[in-house]
C-alpha cells in the first residue's frame, strides 16, 4: 500500500516530464516504463497477499461456525432429540453467508484501498500541478465519489428487493417442480404455470426497475470524464494556457482516476453485501455463546442398572395417542435382555426412550445402585445418552469408508486387529467382500447390512449399554446369523437389550420382558416364562408358524 501511494505520487510529475521531453530523449521513457512495471508487480503482490489473508480468514470463520454448531447439544423436542436449527439454516450460515466474503475477493473489493490511495494521490497530483485547477478538480472528484457512493446505497435498496424476489422465485420454482409429478395425477387448471407466471412477472418487474438504476448509474459514472474536462477549462488560468504538458497530464490523470472512482462505488456495495453475511454469521456465533455443553463428566457403569418408566405418552404417525406405563426392571452387565410382544405393544418405543431419542419421560434410571438419573432432567438424560448406544435400522451410515463408519474416525490404532477378529467371528463379512477401506454406498445397503455396520460400531466403540432393534424380516440366513453372533460378542462386555422376533435370540436371552399395550406384563428367564406366562406361550406359538 505504501508503494502504491509512492507510485501514485510519482506518476503525475513523471508523466509531466514525459509529455515535456518525449521528443528530446529516452530517459523519460525508461523512467515511465519502469514505473509501470513496478506498479504491476506491486498490484500482483498486493492482490495475492490479500487472497491469502482472506483464505485463512474464511476457513477459520467457517470452521468456528461449524464447530460451534456441531458441539451444541441437540434439543429435546416433541418428536425426540432434534437439532435446534433446520438443515437449510445451518447450511446457509455455514456455507452461503461465508461465501459473501469470498465474493468480496472475486469482485476485487479488497483493491478498494488501492483505488482510494490512487484517487488520493491523483488528487494530490492535481494540487501540486496547479493550485486553482487542482482545488477545483479535487472538489469535483470528491463530490462525484460521494454522489456515486450515495447512489450505490440507493441501488442497494433496489437490489435488496431483487434479491428478495429472486428468493421467492427460487422457492416457487422448487415447490412447483417438486409437485409436478403430483399434478400429473389430478386434473387442474394450469396451477403450476399460473403460479409460476405470477412470480416470473414479479421477478421481471423488479429486474426491470433495477436495470434502470444499473444502466443509469454506470452511465453517470462514464459521463464524468467530459464533465471533468469541462471543469479543467473553467478552472484553468488564462495565462498558463501555454503550459502544454500540464494540460496533457491533467487529462491523463483524469482518465486514470475515473475508473477507480467508478469502481469504488460498486465495491462499496459488494462490501455491504458481505457485511450482511458476516453479521448473520456473528449472530449465529452469538447464539451459541450462551449455550453450555451438557454435563461432560462421563458417568461409568460397572455392574447394573435399574430402569423405571412410570409414564410416557406420545402421538403416533397415524395420530392415535399411545402410552407406556409402569415398566420397571433391573439388569446386569453381561446380560442379554430380550423385549418381546406383538407389533404395536411399545417395545421399540421403550428402546428409543432408553436411548434418549424420545426426550424426557416420567421415570428414572439407577446406575450401579448409586447414581440416580432423573429422566425429566435434561442434564441427567444427557448422561444416560452417554452410556447408551442404539443399533437400529435408522442408525446413520456414512457414505465413507468402512473404517470411518465403525470407528467414526480414520487411522485409529487397534482398528486393524479389531477387523481381523471381526472377520474371524463373522464369516459373513468375508462373503460380503468389504474391507476397512471399502467405500460404502449407502443406497445399495440392505437394512440388515446397515444394522451390521452400526452394530460393529457399537462393538468397537464400547458402550456399557447397547440397545438393538432387530430387523424383523427379509434377511438372508447368513446375514441373520452374523447379526445374532454380533449380539453375542457385544454381550461379553456390555449390558445388551434387544427387541427381537427370533426364536433363537429369545431362547438365548438371560432375561425376557413381555410387553402388551404399553405395559410390562411378564418378565423372567425363558424357561420359567414357558410355564408361567400365557402371553409368552402365545407369542412363541405365533413365531413358530
Amino acid at each position: 500500500m505504501v508503494i502504491t501511494g509512492a507510485i501514485g505520487l510519482l506518476l503525475p510529475s513523471m508523466t509531466e516530464n514525459f509529455y515535456n521531453d518525449f521528443k528530446n530523449g529516452n530517459t523519460a521513457f525508461y523512467y515511465l516504463a519502469g514505473l509501470f512495471v513496478a506498479e504491476y508487480i506491486n498490484r500482483v503482490g498486493y492482490q495475492i497477499s490479500v487472497y491469502r489473508f482472506v483464505q485463512e480468514l474464511l476457513v477459520q470463520t467457517r470452521s468456528k461456525t461449524f464447530g460451534l454448531w456441531m458441539k451444541a447439544p441437540l434439543k429435546v423436542k416433541r418428536k425426540g432429540m432434534e437439532d435446534e436449527f433446520p438443515l437449510g439454516e445451518v447450511l446457509a450460515r455455514v456455507m452461503t453467508d461465508s461465501d459473501s466474503v469470498k465474493e468480496l475477493v472475486t469482485s476485487g473489493a479488497f483493491a478498494i484501498v488501492i483505488d482510494f490511495i490512487f484517487i488520493l494521490s491523483s488528487l494530490i497530483g492535481f494540487l501540486r500541478l496547479n493550485a486553482s485547477v487542482g482545488i477545483g478538480l479535487f472538489a469535483l472528484e470528491v463530490v462525484a465519489c460521494v454522489l456515486l457512493v450515495w447512489g450505490s446505497r440507493k441501488m442497494g435498496v433496489v437490489f435488496t428487493e431483487v434479491r428478495k424476489v429472486t428468493g421467492l422465485l427460487s422457492r416457487v420454482v422448487a415447490d412447483v417442480t417438486k409437485g409436478l409429478r403430483e399434478l400429473a395425477f389430478t386434473p387442474h387448471a394450469q396451477y403450476a404455470s399460473r403460479r409460476g407466471d405470477a412470480v416470473f412477472d414479479d421477478f421481471l418487474k423488479k429486474q426491470l426497475k433495477s436495470n434502470v438504476w444499473d444502466a443509469g448509474y454506470y452511465s453517470a459514472a462514464e459521463s464524468l470524464y467530459p464533465i471533468l474536462l469541462a471543469a479543467v477549462l473553467v478552472f484553468f488560468p488564462e495565462g498558463q494556457m501555454g503550459r502544454m504538458a500540464l494540460l496533457a497530464v491533467l487529462i491523463d490523470l483524469i482518465q486514470k482516476s475515473i475508473s477507480p472512482i467508478k469502481e469504488v462505488a460498486g465495491k462499496i456495495s459488494s462490501i455491504q453485501r458481505a457485511r450482511t453475511g458476516l453479521d448473520r454469521i456473528m449472530d449465529f456465533h452469538q447464539h451459541f455463546a450462551g449455550t453450555k455443553e451438557l454435563h461432560r463428566t462421563v458417568l461409568e457403569m460397572k455392574s447394573s442398572m435399574e430402569v423405571k418408566v412410570n409414564h410416557f405418552s406420545y402421538q403416533r404417525a397415524d395420530e392415535t395417542a399411545f402410552e407406556l406405563r409402569d415398566i420397571h426392571f433391573k439388569a446386569q452387565t453381561g446380560e442379554l435382555v430380550g423385549i418381546i410382544g406383538m407389533s404395536g405393544c411399545g417395545k421399540s418405543t421403550l428402546l428409543r426412550l432408553l436411548s434418549g431419542q424420545h426426550g424426557s419421560f416420567s421415570g428414572s434410571v439407577l446406575v450401579d445402585g448409586t447414581h440416580e438419573l432423573q429422566a425429566q432432567n435434561e442434564q441427567d438424560l444427557g448422561q444416560l445418552c452417554q452410556l447408551v448406544s442404539l443399533v437400529s435400522q435408522d442408525s446413520h451410515v456414512f457414505s465413507s469408508s468402512v473404517e470411518f463408519n465403525i470407528a467414526l474416525e480414520l487411522n485409529v490404532p487397534g482398528f486393524k486387529e479389531f477387523w481381523v477378529n471381526a472377520q474371524k467371528a463373522l464369516p459373513y463379512l468375508g462373503r460380503w467382500g468389504i474391507g476397512p477401506d471399502t467405500l460404502i454406498d449407502v443406497k445399495s445397503l440392505s437394512l440388515g447390512q446397515k444394522q451390521l455396520l452400526s452394530g460393529l460400531r457399537a462393538c468397537f466403540l464400547r458402550k456399557p449399554i447397547v440397545l438393538f432393534d432387530e430387523v424383523s424380516s427379509g434377511l438372508d440366513p447368513d446375514l441373520e446369523k452374523a447379526l445374532r453372533d454380533l449380539v453375542l460378542i457385544v454381550q461379553r462386555h456390555s449390558l445388551t437389550i434387544i427387541v427381537t422376533h427370533r426364536l433363537e435370540t429369545i431362547l438365548s436371552a438371560t432375561k425376557l420382558l413381555v410387553m402388551k399395550e404399553g405395559r410390562l406384563v411378564d418378565s423372567g428367564v425363558p424357561s420359567e416364562l414357558m410355564h408361567s406366562s400365557d402371553l409368552f406361550q402365545e407369542f412363541i406359538e405365533h413365531l413358530k408358524n
Partner: protein, 569 residues
C-alpha cells in the same frame, strides 16, 4: 402492474410464436428473438452508434485544446458547453443502449420460463423420469438466468465492440494510420488476461466441486449429529470439515491467482501502448497534442476490450444452459415407448374399464364397473400402490380424467384454497362444496380463531399440517377435481372407523360423487364392507380372491388372520 400478455404484446411479444420458441435450434431461436423485439434492438444499435460518435469526439476535442496550448490552433467556440453536451449525450445514450438491450432479454426469459413450465405441466411424468427435482429446478431457475445473461449482456457487449470498431477505426485512420501498431501491448495484455482467466478456470471448477463436498459433509453431519454426539466424535467431524474447507479454499486461491496476475496486466499494457505511441508520434514529427489524441483513443478502446473476456465466459455458460433446456424440452415432447404400450392395456366400454396390468410375474386382467367403489387389498409389500399407479398411467394414456391421491401426497406451499382448487376459478357453488367437504373430513378444526379455513397457508409440502391432515386435504382436492375416476391409496389410514363410515356414506349419497368410479387400496375390513367390489392381491398368484360386501373363504381368512396379529385394526 402485471405484465399481461397484451402488455407484452405491445412491447413486441408475438403470440403466434407461443410454444414454438423452444422448438427451434439455437441460432434460429436467436434470430427469431431479434425479429420479435426488433424495434428495441433498432433503438439499441442507434443509441450505441450515437454514443460512440460522441465518445470519439472527445479525443478530437482534447487535441484541439492542446493545439491551442501549443499555439498552433484557434480556440474552439464554447468548449465548456461542448464538453457538457457530450457528457449529457453519454449519460442518455449509454443508459438507453443498456436498457434497450437488457429489456427484451428479460422478456424472453419470462416467456421461455412460462413456456417451459407449461410444457412440463402437460407432459406425463414418464417422459421426464430421468430428471430429478434438483435438475428440473436447475433448468427452470439457473439455466434461464444464464440464457438471459447471454442474450442481454454478451450481445450488448458484442454490439458495443462492433459499433466501437465501426466508428473508431475510420477516425483513427484519418488521423494517423501508423499508430495502430502501438495498440499491440494493450491488445496483448487483454489477450493474456483472458487466457489466464480461462486457464485458471479449471481451479474455479475444482473449487466448486470441493464446495459441493463441504456442503455434503455439512448435510451428512446434520443427519448424523445424534450418532456423532453419542460417541463424542465431534472433533473428528470438525477436523474433516476443516480439511475439506482448506481443499476448497486452496482451489479458490489458485483460481484467483490467475486473476491477480492478469488483471493489473491491463494497466501495464495501457501504459506500454502509450509509450510506444509516443515513439511513433516522435518519429512522425507529431506534437504533444497528437499524443494526447492517441491517449484518448487508448482509453476509449479499453472498455470494449475488457468485456471481451467476460463475454466468452457468459457465452459458454449460455450455450451450456441452452443445451440442457433443449434436452429437457425435447424429452418432454417425445412420446415415451411405454405410453403406447399403456394405451393398449386399457379398454373402455360404456359401463366398465378393462385393465390388463403387469403384476410381478403375471398379468392381472381386471374388469371394473363404472360408477362403483372398488377396493384392492393385500399384505404390506404386495404392490397395491404400484397397481394403483399403473392404473393411473393407463387412464392418462387414454386421456380419461382421473385424480389420484398417493400414499404420501405432495402439497404446495400455498393456501388451502390454492391447494384444493389448483388454479380453478372459485365459484360460489364450488366454494360451498369445498367447505362442506373440509368439514366432512374433519379439517374444519384447522381454523382455530375464527379465521377463514381457505386462507390458511399449509407450508412447504404441507409441513404445517400433520401427515393425516395433509392426506385428507388431498382427498378433498381430488373430490373437487371433477375427475371421472378417483384413485386413492390407503385413504383412511389416519381416520377412525366411525369417521370413515360417515365419510363413505355421505360421499355415496352426494351429487358430487354420482357417476364417479372410486378405486382404493385398504387393509381394513370396514372399508371393504363399504365398497361394492373387492380384490385380494398376492404376489405369488396374482388375484387371490374377488369379493363383494360379504366376504367369504380366503378373503375372510385374510382379515381374520390380520386381526389376530394386530388387534388394533
Amino acid at each position: 402492474m402485471r405484465f399481461s400478455l397484451t402488455w407484452l404484446a405491445a412491447q413486441g411479444y408475438r403470440d403466434d410464436l407461443m410454444s414454438t420458441r423452444l422448438k427451434r435450434r439455437f441460432i434460429p431461436w436467436l434470430i427469431a428473438h431479434f425479429f420479435e423485439f426488433w424495434y428495441w434492438y433498432l433503438g439499441a444499435f442507434a443509441s450505441l452508434y450515437v454514443l460512440h460518435r460522441l465518445q470519439t469526439e472527445l479525443p478530437a476535442q482534447v487535441k484541439l485544446l492542446t493545439d491551442v496550448a501549443e499555439g498552433s490552433g484557434e480556440m474552439p467556440a464554447a468548449p465548456v458547453q461542448t464538453f457538457m453536451l457530450i457528457a449529457l449525450g453519454i449519460l442518455v445514450f449509454r443508459t438507453l443502449s443498456r436498457l434497450l438491450f437488457f429489456t427484451p432479454a428479460r422478456f424472453q426469459q419470462k416467456i421461455l420460463r412460462t413456456e417451459m413450465l407449461q410444457e412440463m405441466e402437460k407432459a406425463p411424468p414418464a417422459r421426464y423420469a430421468n430428471w430429478n427435482d434438483g435438475q428440473l429446478y436447475q433448468v427452470l431457475f439457473n439455466d434461464f438466468n444464464n440464457l438471459r445473461a447471454f442474450v442481454g449482456f454478451a450481445l450488448l457487449q458484442l454490439g458495443n465492440v462492433i459499433v466501437a470498431a465501426f466508428v473508431m477505426i475510420p477516425r483513427l485512420n484519418q488521423a494517423d494510420s501508423n499508430l495502430w501498431v502501438a495498440f499491440i501491448p494493450m491488445g496483448a495484455s487483454v489477450l493474456i488476461f483472458s487466457t489466464l482467466v480461462a486457464a485458471f478456470q479449471k481451479y474455479a471448477k475444482a473449487a466448486l466441486d470441493a464446495q459441493g463436498q463441504v456442503q455434503n459433509h455439512v448435510i451428512e453431519s446434520y443427519a448424523a449429529k445424534a450418532t456423532v454426539k453419542n460417541y463424542h466424535r465431534e472433533t473428528t467431524f470438525i477436523e474433516r470439515f476443516n480439511e475439506l474447507s482448506w481443499l476448497e479454499m486452496g482451489f479458490f486461491f489458485k483460481s484467483s491467482v490467475g486473476f491477480a496476475l492478469g488483471f493489473p496486466l491491463i494497466r501495464l499494457g495501457l501504459g506500454l501502448s502509450l509509450l510506444w505511441g509516443a515513439l511513433i508520434v516522435r518519429q512522425n514529427g507529431g506534437g504533444t497534442s497528437d499524443l494526447v489524441f492517441f491517449a484518448g483513443y487508448l482509453f476509449l478502446m479499453l472498455e470494449p476490450l475488457m468485456f471481451l473476456s467476460w463475454m466468452a465466459v457468459v457465452t459458454s455458460q449460455g450455450l451450456a444452459a441452452w443445451k440442457r433446456v433443449k434436452n429437457l424440452h425435447t424429452e418432454l415432447r417425445t412420446l415415451n415407448p411405454d405410453e403406447s404400450q399403456w394405451k393398449s392395456e386399457i379398454k373402455v366400454s360404456e359401463n366398465a374399464f378393462e385393465f390388463s396390468l403387469p403384476y410381478w410375474d403375471t398379468t392381472l386382467a381386471l374388469r371394473l364397473a363404472k360408477a362403483q367403489w372398488f377396493v384392492i387389498c393385500g399384505e404390506t409389500g404386495s404392490g397395491k400402490s404400484e397397481i394403483l399407479k399403473k392404473m393411473g398411467h393407463r387412464l392418462a394414456a387414454r386421456e380419461i380424467s382421473f385424480s389420484m391421491v398417493q400414499q404420501e401426497p405432495y402439497l404446495f406451499n400455498d393456501t388451502i384454497e390454492a391447494n384444493i382448487f389448483l388454479g380453478k376459478e372459485k365459484t360460489p357453488q364450488l366454494e360451498l362444496e369445498a367447505r362442506s367437504l373440509l368439514k366432512l373430513f374433519g379439517l374444519d378444526l384447522l381454523a382455530l380463531n375464527g379465521e377463514d379455513i381457505l386462507t390458511i397457508e399449509v407450508g412447504e409440502n404441507g409441513k404445517r399440517l400433520s401427515g393425516g391432515q395433509a392426506k385428507r386435504l388431498s382427498l378433498v382436492r381430488s373430490l373437487l377435481s371433477q375427475a371421472e375416476v378417483i384413485l386413492w391409496d390407503d385413504p383412511f389410514s389416519s381416520v377412525d372407523i366411525v369417521l370413515e363410515r360417515k365419510i363413505i356414506t355421505q360421499l355415496k349419497e352426494s351429487s358430487l360423487c354420482r357417476g364417479r368410479t372410486f378405486i382404493l387400496t385398504s387393509h381394513r375390513l370396514t372399508t371393504v364392507k363399504m365398497c361394492d367390489q373387492s380384490m385380494l392381491l398376492d404376489p405369488k398368484v396374482g388375484i387371490k380372491a374377488m369379493g363383494d360386501k360379504e366376504l367369504k373363504g380366503v378373503f375372510l381368512e385374510f382379515f381374520q388372520e390380520q386381526m389376530v396379529a394386530n388387534p388394533s385394526t
